[in-house]
Symmetry: C2
Subunit: 205 residues, 2 copies
DNA sequence: TAGTATTTTAACAATTCTGTTAAAAGTAAA
DNA sequence: TTTACTTTTAACAGAATTGTTAAAATACTA
């Protein structure tokens, strides 16, 4: 067995599969297109991954694994200010989103909601750290307390995710090229960080 | 020809198609499932709509036509305050989103970006009304002028769209049932209206 | 009610796609 | 160089899916 070559073939397949699944979704993806992109015979896909489904799961799992570490931002050390934590999260999140993995995950979860429960089983505990952290901030009077932390959760994630997922549509609506939209978006993390901080700061009425 | 009956069959098919296309997407949709849902023979789909593609286009067009009127919110009459306009828009937008049409449109545009240009041709002019309107508000010193109107556009649309598109994931992350999430979301339009108004109000520094 | 047009169905044709298999090509080691 | 093992390919089988067609059922009109 030539381990080196074998690995690189597998890697080539995975890279191609990622691209195709991300842009076409599971249903729209074609094994033929994946093998073409990887520059190999279609039968090799089955040699390495057995079925389309198994290959898909591998891609899905990997996308999820890349995402999950972001959540540890909300581990409760209060050394770092919440403003910094927030900025850090937004930048990391948006960087992740630029890989297109997020729209992929979302689309496939909607196609097959069982994926959510089965695949995030082991990360279950991580999921509600955000809310715990923000509730704590409220207790400590560090942020305003009149907005449900769950809304804050939804707002922050929406502000990060959607502008990237929806880039094609936004650039079209704003009548600028996708390239110009990307350029515009370089300033975006900074802007929403500032706006969110402004909004969340504790305010004595 | 029995016009009445014919229409209702066509309507039944369209309703079924809408449902299936919206939940499965073009690639995942099956003609069989659509005809089953409509309670008719599969060949009838072709009798009425010729091909899957044509049927899809009909559904797509109709979703777009339902959406486009929302944009006239930003026609420039300055009678109504911008705060009220904004609230009105958010409520109408979120109502529309609850029909699932938006995720459908977005997903299919990503699958086939040409749809965007070809299908919105005739609405082209409407698309940049938002930015014009907000630029005007800035000139008149009615809102803060230090945030690019295009960011405001992106922010508002993201805050409206994503919480509904991503409902399944959010409810899972927040560890509440989809039903509870829906209930939580009844308060959402109010919240973001208020937050956005707070944020955008003109502030002398 | 008879005749005509429309709507609906069952059966079939054609294509597309996934997955299998047996053989060829390539690699490594004795 | 021969042998054994791994990787790759071409050809094929089977299933699923879209689209067609001819005939049956239904509705409409004179």
């Amino acid at each position: 067995m030539n381990l080196e070559t074998s690995l690189s073939t597998e890697e080539a397949i995975l890279a191609a599969a990622r691209k195709v699944f991300e842009s076409k979704g599971f249903d729209g993806a074609r094994m033929q297109e994946i093998s073409d992109r990887a520059g190999i015979n279609r039968a090799l896909l089955h040699y390495y991954f057995r079925t389309k489904e198994k290959m898909f799961e591998r891609i899905f799992d990997e996308a999820l694994e890349r995402f999950m570490p972001l959540l540890s931002t909300w581990d409760q050390d209060l050394e770092e200010s919440w403003e910094l934590k927030l900025k850090r999260f937004i930048i990391k999140f948006i960087t992740f989103l630029k890989t297109n993995s997020m729209l992929f995950l979302l689309r496939e979860i909607i196609r097959k909601p069982e994926l959510l429960a089965s695949k995030t089983e082991k990360h279950r505990k991580k999921l509600n750290k955000f809310v715990l952290y923000f509730d704590r901030l409220k207790q400590e009077r560090l942020i305003r307390s009149d907005v449900d932390s769950r809304y804050i959760y939804v707002i922050i994630h929406s502000l990060c995710s959607f502008p990237l997922m929806n880039g094609i549509v936004f650039s079209y609506s704003l009548r600028i090229s996708p390239k110009e939209y990307d350029e515009l978006m370089t300033g975006y993390p900074e802007i929403i960080s500032d706006l969110l901080i402004q909004l969340l700061k504790y305010q004595k009425n």
